[in-house]
């Protein structure tokens, strides 16, 4: 409606996950899920309306962040970006995610915004989304029919569209366990520090000494969803990271992205800098791995 007045809606406040999924089974696409609200409320102040909001505010037990070296990082759907930032294990084992959380929005927004919400929103500019795509993750969805996991690379199906069915509730994000010499890094470009990204990138490298065994490279703001860069990844596979290789990388990256002109930047600029950004991220991730 406007930045001062929200449209009308019906609010439901379930007390348990099972109650929540029952409501979703009933209302399906008539309902939107309200977690932190930092995207949803803003959208509703502009032009988005939903007949029903289902608030997760009184669902217990979904705000955990648990790390296990073999099974990875388990993040409950209500865990906030602020909690991610305060978590020492995230900082140590998933620097890309921590770095994304560190620049994400503002401290006030981080207090409320959930990591799951950022992933579900699936904006191609999402900082945490970019880091997670590079790190490797699964989204756990629950419905009255049970639970299922969707790999993050299969999750965003189009611009602002994702694989969640309208009867499903995201309950957890699982981030892949790090290998013995895994390094990751995240970087974004903005107009000023507090900003939505005009370009972001994230890299995860699994190293074996000087050799990069495998790489996962993600870039945002250059397509309808956050993108993996498979050809660039392949350049690095089982290779030593040398200046010559990085020069190839810098040339390859722009061929895998399709940026547009928008309020924050131009297609031309994004094409020009994307290679430099990934090159620098590879250098950082390689350092982090050691």
């Amino acid at each position: 409606m406007s930045s001062r007045i929200l449209p009308n809606f019906d609010l439901l406040v379930p007390n348990s996950t099972s109650e929540a999924v029952n409501l979703l089974a009933h209302y399906q696409e008539r309902a939107a899920i309200l977690a932190g609200g930092t995207d949803l409320i803003v959208a509703m102040k502009m032009n988005y309306e939903s007949e029903i909001l289902i608030s997760v505010s009184e669902l217990d037990g979904l705000d955990y962040i648990d790390f296990d070296p073999s099974s990875g990082l388990h993040i409950g759907a209500k865990a906030t970006v602020s909690q991610i930032l305060d978590n020492a294990e995230v900082k140590q084992y998933y620097p890309a995610l921590w770095q994304a959380a560190n620049v994400f929005a503002t401290p006030q927004i981080r207090t409320a915004a959930t990591l799951a919400g950022n992933v579900l929103r699936g904006s191609p500019a999402g900082d945490c989304s970019c880091a997670l795509l590079a790190l490797g993750a699964r989204i756990v969805l629950q419905s009255t029919e049970g639970k299922r996991e969707v790999a993050i690379e299969d999750f965003w199906t189009g611009y602002n569209q994702n694989a969640r069915q309208s009867n499903e509730l995201a309950i957890e994000i699982i981030v892949d366990a790090p290998q013995s010499a895994t390094g990751s890094a995240f970087h974004r470009m903005t107009r000023v520090n507090e900003d939505l990204a005009k370009l972001n990138g994230s890299v995860r490298l699994d190293m074996d000494g000087k050799i990069c065994k495998s790489a996962r490279i993600a870039m945002g703001c250059v397509g309808p969803t956050t993108l993996r860069l498979p050809k660039t990844e392949k350049l690095l596979q089982n290779e030593e990271i040398t200046p010559e290789l990085l020069a190839h990388v810098t040339d390859m990256v722009p061929t895998e992205i399709s940026p547009i002109d928008d309020k924050r930047s131009t297609a031309e600029y994004r094409l020009m800098v994307s290679g430099v950004v990934i090159k620098r991220l590879i250098e950082q991730a390689a350092t982090a791995a050691n």
Binding site: M1, S2, S3, R4, I5, M189, R191, V192, N193, E194, D195, L196, K263, R264, S265, T266, E268, Y269, M272, V273, V276, V277
Partner: protein
């Protein structure tokens, strides 16, 4: 040991306590009995259109809607939301071609956000939902967004009196050849050994004050129209509203609410007319109108963007022989400040350097953009971006140091200031340049950067500026002050001077306390009440401390004169043998022969008869002081800004490392507040140089009307700042002070551009200088910084 008691001290601001505790002092905080809520319906879909259908029937069905008013339901009298029309005579206004071309509601939408009608309801939510139900049908008209589009033959003419949409040009009658300057610049240019010339573009920057615009209006039980407004110029608002609604001023009262930032956005009126019109439709009921942040970029005036051409000629030794310039300003959809800014842009240009000849032409063009108006600097930042860059371009060719050249050629004491005939009474720019250069290690860094390598490149830049302290003689400069001495010797100083947050109320309070020899809490400053305050222009042109301060000093002198006269009788001593010690007046040669001013005041009010003598005990009459002060000068301040930055040449990103601000302040009346003006101004100047601009789509609609996409430097973006205030009391300023309000914004613009030039060897002709432009220029110039 200071010669002053409160002047020169960073006393706690008089409004600080209420602000840190969040008292309800802004218009939006106020709640009144029986209050209704108004919503102004604005055209957001089109930048240029005719309203062909306006239907309130659906809106009126909503429960809680009280009234909907369209253009025919309110006065058709036209007005100008800017205040300049009140500051010049009708004769001059006529010569300038000033227009009053705005109406409360319109059926001819001239810019996105033009007001169509207004809804009154019992709650804000209902008013807004009803506003969404007002049915408006438009016939879109041709949209033109720039001066070059505006002046094309065949383009829709926005005003019948303005051919080719040229709203203003320096009039021949006042400026021969439509030009401001001296000498024959064409001829003089022929003497130049080198000439530099280019076309620049300056950007449409928005004030983005933190308080969104909100108003309350009420026709009270005595038929008076009351308006709660946060305008910068309450007495001008008073007159405009009275005239607009054809009422005597005595039937209109302006209550000034605390101003949550102005920077020129509140110079004049914004939505007071609509709010008052709504209130007049429901007499007795207060009507509150709260605008939205997303409306701000659209409904209140911005900086004048435009095309700025300049040509400079120099001798080989650096002598500046000629300057020619032309600014084609985009004044937006209505006249507002169409005549003001194109003049002052050239005025600041002319005030800066000792060119052999100078010729400046200034013009304004209508367009379907939101109106441009007053924004801190008022043409000076635009000139700074162009002039300072072109000079450095010439200096590179001449191999002359930019600081040295400015030291050699800036105007100074005895030279014509921005208004010819008014000479500079004081100038410490040389000292500013020297201290600033030292603070930033200018010579060392220049030398270092000449041999730098690598993809990260640093640069230093300098820029200077001159501004003004009040706008005489071009504009009226008049402030009235009355001082009432309470019977206990404390004082009430009444003035309409406004405080936008810069601290003018605090500094005026300091001036009064100092002049009267009283403590701060023995003086009350009474402002913001059009019933109690005499005339004051308002806050603009960095005038409030200077003109307001001098007005207060004059009124306090009146008080002191009366006190001394009464003391003279009481102490049986001639006035010239008395000393005014603030709270006590005593005989110079016999200090024990004294009387307190409190006693004089008490006796004046409580003029009891002594039963024994049959005579009153002292001189009768409460003591009032008065000043109707017309400024005698405009004591322009000067300043120099130095910037060091680093550019990542692989990405075009610019990081500001340090900004040193130096200012020729005359005397610092409140050091922390003066510094706050320089640092706060720098934040805005940095924005103009690097990140801020209102963008429009092809249909003329603003694309980035939100903080999401209108980006300003935040707490973690700001560079290391240093402020150096160089003092040398000005002969005309109150306690020697000159202004500081607009200087801080102006010089960073040129300094940043020059630092970029120093780092890369490329100049950017369009502000803001974004990484996109930088990287593109690096590639296009084939530069390799590895």
């Amino acid at each position: 040991m200071s010669q002053f008691s409160v002047i020169g001290k960073s006393v706690p601001k008089v409004d600080a306590y209420e602000k840190v505790t969040g008292q309800p002092i802004y218009a939006a905080d106020l709640k009144m009995q029986g209050m209704l809520y108004g919503k102004i319906v604005r055209c957001m879909e089109f930048a240029h259109a005719k309203v062909i259908k306006l239907d309130f029937s659906e809106a009126l069905k909503i429960p809680g809607v009280v009234k909907v008013l369209g253009p025919e339901d309110v006065t058709q009298t036209t007005y100008n939301t800017g205040a300049c029309d009140e500051m010049v005579s009708d004769k001059v206004g006529h010569l300038l071609g000033d227009l009053k071309d705005q109406t409360i509601f319109t059926d001819h939408v001239r810019h996105q956000g033009d007001a169509i009608c207004g809804v009154i309801a019992i709650s804000e939510e209902i008013a807004e939902r009803a506003a969404a139900k007002v049915i408006v049908e438009y016939e879109p008209l041709q949209v033109f967004m720039t001066p070059s589009e505006a002046e094309k033959p065949g383009t829709h003419q926005l005003h019948p009196d303005k051919a080719n949409n040229m709203a203003f040009q320096l009039p021949e009658a006042m400026f021969p050849g439509n030009s401001y300057g001296w000498g024959d610049a064409d001829e003089a240019m022929k003497e130049a050994d080198i000439i530099v010339e280019d076309d620049f573009y300056v950007n449409k920057q928005k004030q983005c004050q933190m308080e969104p615009h909100a108003y309350i209006a009420q026709v009270d039980g005595r038929g008076r129209l009351n308006c709660w407004s946060s305008g910068q110029m309450p007495k001008i608002t008073h007159q405009k509203i009275a005239r607009l609604f054809d009422m005597p001023m005595s039937m209109v009262k302006i209550h000034s609410t605390t101003i949550g930032g102005g920077f020129g956005a509140r110079l004049g009126i914004i939505a007071e007319p609509e709010t008052c019109a709504l209130a007049m439709a429901v007499p007795g009921r207060p009507v509150k109108v709260q605008t939205l942040r997303e409306e701000d970029w659209i409904i209140s005036e911005s900086r004048h963007a435009g095309d700025y051409w300049m040509r400079l000629g120099f001798k080989k030794d650096g002598t500046p022989v000629a300057c020619q310039a032309r600014f084609k300003a985009n004044t937006g959809a209505y006249f507002t400040h169409a005549s003001g800014v194109p003049f002052t842009t050239g005025a600041w240009l002319s005030g800066m350097y000792k060119f052999g000849a100078l010729g400046y032409q200034g013009e304004s063009y209508f367009s379907n953009q939101a109106p441009a108006g007053a924004y801190r600097g008022y043409g000076n930042p635009q000139t700074n971006f162009v002039l300072e860059q072109l000079i450095d371009r010439a200096l590179t060719q001449l191999d002359i140091d930019p600081v040295q050249w400015r030291l050699d050629w800036h105007k100074g004491v005895g030279d014509d200031g921005w208004c010819f005939g008014v000479k500079y009474p004081s100038c410490q720019l040389s000292e500013c340049l020297k201290q600033g250069a030292e603070a930033i290690e200018w010579n060392k860094k220049l030398a270092e950067f000449k041999t730098q390598t690598g993809t990260k490149r640093r640069g230093v830049g300098v820029s200077v500026m001159n501004h003004t302290s009040g706008a005489m003689p071009m504009l009226l400069e008049h402030t009235v002050t009355t001082v009432m001495m309470n019977e206990d010797g404390s004082a009430v100083v009444a003035t309409a001077c406004s405080d936008l947050g810069q601290g003018s109320h605090t500094v005026l309070h300091q001036i009064a306390a100092e002049a009267l020899g009283l403590d701060m809490n023995e003086v009350t400053l009474k402002t913001g009440d059009s019933d109690a305050n005499g005339f004051d222009i308002g806050s603009h042109a960095s005038r409030t401390t200077y003109v307001g301060g001098n007005s207060i000093l004059e009124a306090c002198d009146d008080i002191k004169k009366q006190l001394l006269e009464r003391a003279s009788k009481h102490l049986d001593t001639a006035v010239e043998n008395l000393e005014f010690g603030g709270k006590t007046i005593f005989a110079k040669h016999n200090p024990e022969n004294s009387i307190t001013t409190a006693e004089i005041c008490r006796l004046g009010v409580y003029n009891y008869m002594d039963p024994e003598t049959g005579e009153p005990e002292g001189a009768p009459g409460q003591i009032f002081g008065f000043s109707s002060h017309f400024a005698k000068h405009n004591s322009p301040p000067f300043g120099a800004c130095f910037v060091e930055l680093e550019i990542d040449t692989e990405t075009g990103e610019i990081e500001l490392l340090e900004l040193v601000h130096t200012h020729d302040i005359g005397r610092t009346l409140h050091p922390a507040m003066a510094e706050g003006q320089m640092v706060g101004g720098a934040q805005q100047g940095i924005g103009m140089a690097l990140t801020e601009e209102i963008y429009y789509d092809e249909q003329g609609r603003a694309v980035n009307s939100s903080f999401t996409d209108y980006k300003m430097y935040g707490s973690s973006d700001m560079p290391k700042m240093k402020v150096i205030l160089v003092e040398d009391p000005d002969p005309h300023g109150p306690y020697g002070a000159k202004s500081v309000g607009e200087a801080g914004l102006t010089s960073p613009v040129g300094a940043i551009a020059n630092a970029v030039y120093n780092a890369l060897g490329i100049q950017f002709k369009e502000a803001p200088i974004t990484p996109e432009k930088v990287l593109k220029a690096i590639k296009e110039n084939g530069l390799n910084f590895a």
